[in-house]
Amino acid sequence: MRISGLIHSALVQRTILRTAALLVPARLREEWLSEWRTELWYAWRSEREHWPRGKEMTAFCLGAFRDAVWLRRNAPLPRAYGSLLIDTRQQFPDPPSAEEGRLLESPARCLVFLALVASANLAIASLLPTAHNVIVPPLHPDARTLAMLAPYGGNHAQRDLLLNLLTLFGVAWLIVPATTSLSLGDYPRNPYWFRRWAFFAAKIALLLPITTLGALNLASIGSSISPLGMQAGLWIGVMTLRWALLDQRCRCPVCLRTLASPVQIGQSSRIFLEWNGTELLCLRGHGLLHVPGTPAIWFSQQRWLYFGPSWSGLFPHRRL
């Protein structure tokens, strides 16, 4: 009863709102939080008899997460990009900074974030005794003698487990095509092609320890290795690989930053007359990405259009 009272206390509800506010873009956070706090104040004082306090109030506050996520995905950019294209006398102002955009907008921040997650997983694995034994097998006092007697004996169980985890990552590659296309799109060749593939390879290289160590940590929560944790590892692998592909597709091939200003173009009912889909823009003026709404034979995958030097007038801050 006491725990339930604590969970549904005003303090917890305010904490829920504060936590959800972290998802809201910084420039909108204060207003968003004051709106939800006000609504909560009125909700607590609602005269409705069948509106019980506590539990329902907590459920009310949990709805803030959905609102915050919506705002994070759909909040307008600080300045109206795109609309300026009509008036060629105007120029695109400074692109919004990473703080104003998404957390993983910049390629460096994305890789640092993945490296931090991988390090956190390694730290957790070193704290869990079962996982720690797999990563750093305990040295037997007579290891040298044992190695001489049974050169292939040693720590087979631990080695097999690591191999199984790596195999799971490979199996995840076979499942991913069922959830999303493996194709990264149709990009005309340019001098920066290597950068794009190097970034993708770096992401995969960091996802490998995240997946294997994450699965190992999940499996090692108990006193022994749990098969359920291993199965969870497979799905972690599928999810992370899927994310890597989706993330790669919505990045500019030149500056590797995430694209912005999605605009819906055309109607799916006119597929035989014109293309329909979404057009995304690189805020640094490197080009446009056309993502077909309904893949057709003549337009089956996303296409990138590089902006030539004539666009530099609109993007004075164009840089790599």
């Binding site: 709106e35 609504e39 409705r48 803030a64 919506w70 307008p76």
Partner: protein, 110 residues
């Protein structure tokens, strides 16, 4: 964003139509809409933001002096735009029971 190609008859979901109808009926703030429609907060507030983005509704904060006088925090109020009203009319034709679900006579107009 409203543009030339967006007709007032654009099809709204039943939930969105209910929220528009609640606003039209005089429930002009988020929690009021929740009470009138019975929808959870995680549905109502994002829907209000989406409608505001699509220029069906407009929002404004109550004046601090008015709220101070009543010894309560200022609220954020929502109001239908002309495009929102036209969309609601189209939705009422599509969902004839909408008016009966949230009749506008019950609440005094702001």
């Amino acid at each position: 964003m409203y543009n030339f190609f967006m007709a007032p008859s654009q099809k709204l979901s039943h939930t969105a139509a209910m929220i528009l109808q609640a606003l039209y009926a005089g429930y002009i703030y988020g929690f009021g809409v929740m009470e009138a429609t019975g929808l959870p907060s995680g549905t109502v507030y994002p829907a209000l933001r989406r409608m505001e983005r699509d220029e069906m509704i407009r929002s404004h904060w109550e004046k601090q002096s008015v709220a101070d006088e009543a010894q309560r925090p200022p609220r954020k109020y929502y109001k239908l735009t002309s495009f929102g009203k036209a969309t609601l009319e189209a939705s009422q034709k599509r969902y004839p029971l909408l008016i009966r679900l949230i009749p506008s006579e019950e609440v005094g107009r702001p």
